[in-house]
Symmetry: C4
Subunit: 204 residues, 4 copies
């Protein structure tokens, strides 16, 4: 009686996604009580930290969308081999870095180091998009890992969606060297665009 073969890949991946997405909250720093005086209110100290909060929301939604993409792929994948586990693991490695690049971004935005932080942030997202391509291409090549009765339309949809993602993140990454601030805005817009696409698409 063979065990279901992709079960542990999913549960390990779910664990990494869950820990990475929850670690983001550690980047929100609690202002210390001794720094709050009659003159500096806690409100203004928190308001001062707005980049942290924005970065938290953006990164949370970004990892959430990555998890949904991962889910979408795994719904079509029935088989599993050593390579696939490794590629999946390397994909997870780049996702795991996001809490770090988010902390980097929220620490340096609006200051000297902003440009470097934005390039690194966009670069990581581009790397994730690239890894997702490899992950998906490996599974789908010669239909080697797909479930027998898969829907060709699903495959096509993922092809298009991952393709668009890769191109868009390539553009923001390249742009971050030239027009740093524009690239960050584009990256934020992209996140909300993918969120909106998810929320308003027809149920199938």
């Amino acid at each position: 009686m063979p065990k279901e073969d992709t079960g542990r890949v999913e549960s390990f991946s779910d664990g990494v996604f869950a820990v990475a997405i929850t670690l983001l909250v550690l980047d929100l720093k609690v202002p210390q009580q001794r720094d709050v005086t009659a003159n500096t209110h806690l409100w203004s100290m928190l308001a001062h930290q707005w980049p942290s909060f924005l970065a938290f929301v953006i990164s949370f939604i970004t990892i959430l969308i990555m998890w949904i993409n991962h889910h979408m792929v795994m719904k079509l994948v029935q088989l599993n081999d050593g390579n696939f586990m490794l590629i999946n693991g390397l994909l997870l490695m780049f996702i795991t870095i996001i809490p770090f690049t988010t902390a980097l971004l929220s620490a340096h935005i609006g200051h000297e180091g902003a440009r470097a932080a934005i390039i690194i942030y966009n670069g990581t997202l581009f790397a994730v998009a690239g890894m997702f391509q490899g992950f998906w291409r490996y599974a789908v090549k010669n239909e080697r890992l797909l479930s027998s009765g898969y829907d060709r339309l699903d495959v096509k949809r993922i092809n298009i969606q991952f393709g668009i993602g890769l191109i868009m993140y390539a553009i923001t990454f390249i742009l971050s060297f030239i027009l740093t601030k524009v690239s960050l805005c584009l990256c934020v817009l992209l996140t909300f665009y993918f969120l909106a696409v998810g929320l308003f698409k027809k149920r199938h």
Copy 2:
């Protein structure tokens, strides 16, 4: 052979709940050995930290009750779509913030920043109650995601319970602007009320 469709939503959510609830312990600070002298005992230093311990217990029970609510909904939900995964993710985002708002509360209670910390704490709980409404409404609308043979009584019970929760947390949130301390007491009472309701209700 289609895979069970809500399995990964549950396992990802369980992961996020488990990490968020366990991260609460990081808000309990260990007094340093060098600060303990013959005059200041470790006991009195820990006693001094009582807001941290109270906040830990309240937040732990709060997230626990949220997890039970999530479980209650998912027992009735059989299907799954992209929107549902996104709404579930946004719900988890607000739950993930609780360790931060808890740390904020335990750092500032009894000091200058208490009012802001309490408003933010109650506001987050209100936001979670609101997200739970959206999460539940989406699943139940036109019975789109419910399992075929669901029990109408279960649906009704959740409607009532989530409705009461939303109203109560709206009240504590509004109250936190006017009577800050009262609102915090109400919030604590609310937590133990929901705990007691859970513990003493008839088994069905």
Copy 3:
């Protein structure tokens, strides 16, 4: 088609156990590079931290044994209700505190605050043993949550084992007020005793 009812209790609990047991490693502090000079070697600095390492090993094995106990109970439990989820959650709360009490212990052992730290550490373990009693008693009372074809011998074995655990941890807890150091040694011995009982008992 009803879903399996204890699945999520197990996966949520596994998540909390996994996070709590892994957070223990955060109590191991890395000596900073600037503190290592030609005179103070890294070896001696690490050797100086031996209480941290011992506390890490003891707490890891303790939580591991708790997880095995939890598993042992859940193997017999087939049903689930709201109370059971709450009791399970409160049990997990006390387990979650262990990384904190471990950090407290390793920071203060051999110093002024040792007595308080040991009392708190033993008290937490006693509380966990008590919660395990409640957890088990609730499930087993009138056989309400047990699977239909359960083995009476398994129930008896858990009764005995949890009873011994409760008594032993009560003794170490009481002893920690009178003979603090003895109680800590007893607690360490107890951990290795339970480990040995586990390792050398006959397979059934």
Copy 4:
């Protein structure tokens, strides 16, 4: 109706692996904004941290390969007993330490404490390889925990692979006392060798 017996061992282990592998990112320190001036760029500060990034990648891939090994064993294991859960737990304990030894390594490499850090790092990996032997030997002895229709070739393959791993990590560990830097290079090469073996081996 007996529950599947190895399910929780896998889900608990997956949780510990997932948390341990994701905690590695906490070793990547974010340079503070106030330290970045017109003269010291963020780029150069990050470049200065290269040992952290290298250590992160190496440790991530190492834990990933350990997880794949764990998966490989559990695919053959159908039964479960108390000893097996304990041995598995002790194996996880050593894996859990890796984020600590990684932080130790990246803090001290190139400085006074490098030798001690490398010996400890290699020692931990050797200990994990040893625990994997025990874990596997226990499961396979008299075929006690194997699934009925297991493939003898799979058993043989694991025997060889774990044997090679144990020998290689024994060599790097011994070498770390004599030729510290060489042993670290060997350890890095070993990681990429196992990664490559995984990536280019034929699918079976």
